[in-house]
């Protein structure tokens, strides 16, 4: 089976080479038959990449320990779910997943991009193929997932237990889908630069791809942070770890990208900027992969530290990113500047959004890479942690979120509507929320009060905006329901996503400002208070799982004498490989999470325990789900599909495309 997978991978490399060469030749020679080969090539590549991935999965499922990475990452006693997720719980397998997703992205363009101009689609697929060539080569030359092992071991050495978790099982595929999905935007940008085709039509075509990748990336980030929250047992949900930052940066770039693409589509402005963002977003994704894989940054996530591979990826990155940016430097001057516009307008607000997002991206980029640059230049070593990011990132998010409420009320070109009346209700809500938090919840932190104000401001503004659709919609005699249905999906998507931001901001603020933490030494039967909740340590018992043993602490939680929940927290000891982990006990209630961690025995019959009351913390992830959902809803917008359906109306000749301004 392994050989079959290996062969598929080599064939996929060969096909992707063809996918680059033939269409490019066809475009140069104006040979339609060669150009048309791009589509079947991309589709064949999908089958081959999936075959390779399937073969590796089969090796894991059947515990074929003659395959090296199966032997070093799996174990017969592992639950089936983690045998499967073990496929991407290691360097080689995760890269195989990465290229399989890349092939899928190319296949999606080939299959669903039928309405694109055939020549342009071939160009996009050629670029997509070029990216694939490099990563297939990387996989086959430095990290062959199908390498055999002799002699064949009797038993595997198991998967890192910290990765044996449903949250982490689905986090990498989701994140990779987002990372790699952005490759389509990259290929669109490079193809558009090659053909001098940057314009409103291009923006409209690229937007659904960006939205899809963005939604996946949002989901991936949320899953990762949720995993860190309950598995690492520290009670935090974001640690500004370099690997987290590596995933956050493409997300920020993609967010900026689909906002600026709207401006390009509607007003034909920000041409160079949008193309640059499309290049940068995927570049940051590749950089993220590089950072995780190469070990240039010290991080808890670095489970494959190997400078040789690092150098190979670096050469790939230098070629792809450097090449695209050089092309940009060369061609951007020829892209004509688009329209100019008034400051107070929809596009003005979107430009401000882009400036703030880019500034935020810049601070994360600096904080992540500055220590590296400093060490290279001066030999000095520093580490930048949460204090830096809290001090720089948060102040940029405040105006961004404030503006997010205003933007949708502005009209294109020049705002002339009654902004003040639209914003009166959100402003009142913001003041109300702040006063309530101050007076009734005893919140004193300035930032926390600002957070509550922003969440209320944004949430109410979204509602006002939606109700505006209802009042002004040409519903005629139609019911409210009919009017609701007439709101474009894109508008629904935006409202959902913005509402999601409000929910997340509320979750972040409330869980930070109101959380209660208690450290205690409890004997059996003793209890301690965390916030309004009383935790009683009912029992500590040994338990055994499939591949671990654990001490399980059982906590009975009461509030004002009423029983609320029974929670368990485990201190686990895995045998293969030997490692200890904590499973926090988490009980989600409507108002927040109860969170208990069983620590070490104190040697005198007591146990160290950490008890939390974390109000509203799940809202952080509810909000993320809303955001991702918003992206998906916007993706189904009829306008996007309809306009893509009339390529004949778009000038096919690139020169005319520019002239048609």
């Amino acid at each position: 089976m392994a050989e079959l997978g290996h062969l598929s991978l080599w064939l996929a490399l060969a096909i992707s080479l063809l996918q680059v060469v033939l269409p490019s030749l066809g475009l140069a020679r104006r040979d339609g038959r060669l150009v048309a080969l791009a589509v079947p090539a991309a589709q064949t590549q999908v089958l081959l990449a999936l075959a390779a991935f399937g073969a590796l999965t089969w090796c894991f499922v059947t515990s074929d320990f003659s395959v090296r990475i199966v032997a070093s990452n799996s174990h017969t006693l592992k639950p089936m779910l983690y045998k499967v997720t073990g496929v991407w719980g290691n360097h080689e397998g995760s890269l195989l997943l990465w290229v399989a997703m890349l092939a899928l992205a190319g296949g999606a363009v080939a299959t669903f991009g039928r309405r694109l101009d055939a020549g342009f689609r071939a160009r996009v697929l050629a670029v997509q193929g070029l990216i694939a060539v490099g990563f297939y080569a990387f996989l086959l030359i430095t990290s062959n997932p199908f390498a055999r092992l002799l002699p064949v071991p009797e038993q595997g050495s198991g998967l890192n237990p910290i990765l044996q978790d449903p949250g982490l099982a689905f986090h990498p595929p989701m994140l990779y889908l987002g990372y790699v999905g952005l490759s389509v935007a990259f290929s669109f940008a490079v193809a558009a630069l090659l053909e001098n085709r940057v314009g409103p039509a291009w923006a409209r075509e690229v937007r659904p791809w960006v939205l899809a990748a963005w939604a996946a990336l949002t989901g991936g980030l949320a899953l990762g942070s949720w995993w860190a929250y309950y598995e690492l047992g520290w009670g935090g949900w974001w640690f500004w770890d370099p690997v987290e930052n590596a995933a956050l940066m493409p997300w920020l770039a993609a967010t900026a990208l689909f906002h600026s693409a709207v401006v390009l589509e509607k007003r034909d402005a920000l041409r160079n900027w949008t193309v640059l963002l499309a290049v940068v977003a995927f570049s940051l994704s590749m950089l993220g992969t590089f950072i995780v894989r190469s070990g240039v940054l010290t991080s808890v996530h670095a489970f494959a530290v190997d400078p040789e591979r690092g150098l190979f990826i670096l050469i790939l990155l230098a070629f792809y990113i450097g090449g695209a940016l050089t092309l940009y430097a060369w061609r951007a001057g020829q892209v004509q500047a688009g329209a100019t516009f008034a400051a107070v307008s929809r596009e003005g607000a979107l430009v401000a959004n882009n400036l703030l997002l880019s500034a935020a991206l810049g601070t994360v980029f600096m904080g992540t890479l500055y220590p590296l640059a400093l060490e290279a230049l001066t030999g000095e070593q520093i580490s930048v942690g949460a204090p830096y990011f809290n001090a720089t990132f948060t102040p940029l998010m405040v105006p961004l979120i404030a503006l997010m409420a205003v933007g949708p009320f502005l009209t294109w070109r020049r705002a002339h509507n009654r902004l003040a009346s639209a914003l009166a209700l959100p402003a009142a809500a913001a003041i109300g929320a702040t006063l309530t938090a101050y007076a009734f919840a005893d919140t004193r932190g300035a930032l926390a009060l600002v957070g509550f104000a922003l969440a209320a401001w944004l949430a109410v503004a979204v509602m006002v905006e939606l109700s505006g659709h209802l009042r002004h919609g040409r519903g005629g005699a139609g019911s409210t329901w009919a009017r609701l249905r007439r709101i474009p999906r894109a508008a629904w998507g935006m409202s959902l996503a913005h509402l999601g931001v409000a929910v997340t901001v509320f979750g972040v603020t409330a869980s930070g400002a109101w959380q209660q933490e208690t450290l205690a030494n409890l004997r059996l039967g003793e209890s301690a208070l965390a916030g309004p909740y009383r935790y009683t340590l009912a029992s500590v018992m040994p338990v055994a799982g499939d591949n671990f043993t654990a001490l399980e602490g059982r906590f009975a939680v009461t509030r004002d004498g009423r029983a609320i929940a029974v929670m368990t927290s485990q201190a686990r000891a895995y045998t293969s490989p030997p490692m200890e982990t904590t499973e926090a006990g988490i009980k989600p209630l409507w108002g927040g999470d109860l969170y208990a961690v069983l620590g070490k025995p104190d040697g005198r019959g007591g146990w160290q325990v950490r008890l939390h009351w974390k109000p509203f913390i799940p809202w952080i992830w509810y909000g993320s789900v809303l955001m991702a959902l918003g992206g998906i809803v916007a993706l189904t917008d009829r306008r996007g599909r309809a306009s893509a359906a009339v390529p004949a109306a778009e000038p096919v000749d690139p020169v005319n495309a520019l002239a048609a301004e």
Partner: protein, 197 residues
Amino acid sequence: MTASPTPPSPSRPPAAPMPLSRKLLVALPVLVFAGLVAVFVSQLKPKDPNAVPSALLGKPAPEFSLPGYDAEHPGLATADLRQGTVTVVNIFASWCAPCVAELPQLQRLAEDHGVVVHAIAWKDKPDDMAAVFARAGNPFRRIGMDNEGRTVIDWGIAGVPETFIVDGRGTIIHRHIGDIRPEQVARIAEIVRTGKP
């Protein structure tokens, strides 16, 4: 590189030569990236992933002056670290579990080994601190209240707790990341006693 030859179209004037400033602007991304690649190449060497040494090792402690916690625990400033004796500066927060867990170890340093232990309390509330001290003891001589969280940035910390050993002239000679485990107390005391990392 364009697929089709590009005849000048009537509505589009022939491109004027790009001004230099614009050329530089569009070339800026690729130049930044080139710098980044150079940095990465220089960093691609095997290294111990657990070693995060401090930039401040061998350097004077950053300049700061912080208000105190109470009358018995006055504030902390750079001058207090230049009194001729080796001191230990612990970055502390009552909301951080490992910080509380290492208090007994700091207590042992102070009582059994006679080490002067100061604290910088990061964004902490006196009431919360008092509750922790009442339970776990207060090993600190001076406590600087870093209410703004600015001073800890100057110290370059990655998280709490962290512990620095400063020699009598105010030079940082050792950095300990994370909580001090009971078995590490002797080693810390040794560094303090010899003044050598």
